[in-house]
């Protein structure tokens, strides 16, 4: 069973369509050909490497290696979260790392142990692709959450401080900014749960069906993964805000200006 292998030559044939696209871009003076070329090359090189080390991981299937791989993935995820949210890596790395790690580990192992019911919890075949899907989706929500939270307070700093003076409570003054940030972080996933399957088949299902699973199996996996993604996102977004508070504010609850990369003075 499994999908028919693609010949390297036939895969290369698919690149033929790039030629008219490059030509049209050129004629329309879109000036994106260089970016496009870089993107395509990067995709091929990166996926090539992933292929090589996944084969390696799958071959050894060592719990230690697999766990180490996941930790590295989380670290890289942290880095890209902080880079996209204009927040300082050095100060916030640890809080974001923990807020990804805790929900991720709980959901992932529940998924493997209870839902899929596999014996080896560190089985590379499940651990790595599912871990990757969870992480990839959490990235967006943590970026949106942290970004909106801190930029909202920065933008309305006077109102925020005035709320502290009226309520004499840090948490109460933070609430509106947290609410706004949290809703914008998790709403897209709820929306995609509501429309999934109507327009396009999710990538994971497509993969499973091509890989030889019957549609019902693929659909059960898809439901399980959507729920897992939502849970991980939900808790890691909340935790990322909570864990970052200690670094984000000084001892008098005033926003710490040096957590932002570009401080406008």
């Amino acid at each position: 069973m499994g999908a028919q292998d693609l010949g390297l030559f036939s895969l290369a044939l698919l690149f033929i369509f790039l030629l008219p696209i490059l030509y049209i871009n050129h004629r329309l003076r879109l000036a994106i050909n260089k970016t496009l070329a870089i993107s395509v090359v990067r995709m091929c090189v990166q996926l090539g490497f992933v292929g090589i080390y996944l084969e390696f991981l799958f071959k050894f299937n060592s719990p230690f290696l697999n766990a180490a791989y996941l930790l590295i993935m989380i670290s890289i995820a942290c880095q890209s979260i902080l880079r996209s949210s204009n927040l300082k890596l050095k100060k916030l790395f640890f809080p974001v790392f923990l807020s990804l790690l805790i929900p991720f580990v709980v959901v992932l192992f529940f998924f493997n142990a209870v839902v899929v019911n596999i014996d080896n919890l560190f089985e590379a075949k499940y651990l790595i692709p599912i871990g990757g899907m969870l992480l990839g989706n959490c990235l967006r929500s943590i970026i949106v959450g942290l970004n909106r939270f801190y930029s909202g307070i920065k933008k309305n700093e006077k109102v925020y401080l005035y709320s502290i003076s009226l309520f004499n409570s840090h948490i109460q003054a933070l609430k509106p900014y947290f609410k706004d940030a949290f809703l914008s972080a998790i709403t897209p996933t709820m929306a995609s749960m509501a429309t999934i399957g109507l327009v396009a088949l999710p990538g994971m299902m497509t993969g499973q069906i091509l890989g030889g699973s019957i549609p019902m199996v693929a659909i059960k996996y898809q439901i399980a993964i959507m729920l897992s993604i939502f849970y991980t996102e939900y808790f890691s977004t909340i935790l990322s805000v909570i864990f970052s508070l200690r670094v984000g504010f000084n001892e008098f609850d005033v926003l710490n200006p040096d957590i932002f990369i570009s401080t406008q003075k």
Partner: protein, 202 residues
């Protein structure tokens, strides 16, 4: 009640406090005068812990402005900021939220009487803070202060958006309170008041 001893504070290369000293006793009423940028608002912000001194000591009720005391200090101060930076919310909900977090305050007691005194219509309770006019917002800020009735009031331009009879009424009322009150204002009514001590900063 409030004491600054050899305080120094520099912001963006500008010396705001340069060996600044001040002492305000309990229930004193002080009007601070001085040109803008001299640090009047910063003085309030240091007391509230929103800004910190570079050097020197500020105390409130004998407490240093420190992590351990900041909640007690903030709970004792009613601060009216110049722009009355209330968050945008239905006025009724805002008052309710303030009451919830200030269980000891008089909030909601005498609400209607105090609103009538400030000539605020009951209708504003069902409006959003953003929909209020400048004068209404200023009076809403004062209303919150009257209802909270904390021991120390720091008022930054509390009457700038009000008409003359209203300024007079409020100045008389505030000057008669048994509270420690510090006012920053350019309005004449405060200067003329016999119970208010003037502190000129140059």
């Amino acid at each position: 009640m409030i004491q600054f001893n050899s305080a120094y504070l520099t912001r963006k290369d500008k010396k705001i406090f340069d060996n600044f000293n001040l002492s305000i006793k309990k229930n004193e009423k002080i009007l601070i005068q001085g040109k803008s940028g001299i640090g009047k608002t910063t003085f309030f912000k240091v007391l509230l812990g929103f800004e910190s001194l570079d050097k020197g000591r500020a105390t409130f009720n004998g407490w240093g402005i420190s992590k351990g005391h900041i909640k007690d200090i903030r709970g004792s101060i009613f601060y009216l900021s110049q722009d009355i930076d209330l968050k945008n919310e239905l006025v009724r909900n805002l008052l309710e939220e303030i009451r919830e977090h200030n269980p000891a305050s008089l909030l909601h007691k005498d609400l209607q009487k105090k609103m009538a005194f400030l000539e605020l219509s009951i209708k504003i309770l069902d409006q959003n803070v953003k929909e209020l006019s400048g004068g209404e917002r200023q009076r809403l800020g004062l209303l919150i202060g009257f209802l909270l009735d904390r021991p120390v009031w720091l008022l930054d331009e509390p009457t700038s958006a009000l008409d003359d009879p209203m300024k007079k009424k409020i100045a008389d009322f505030i000057a008669g309170r048994d509270r420690t009150i510090v006012i920053i204002s350019h309005d004449e009514v405060w200067k003329q008041h016999p119970d208010i001590k003037i502190e000129r900063w140059v």
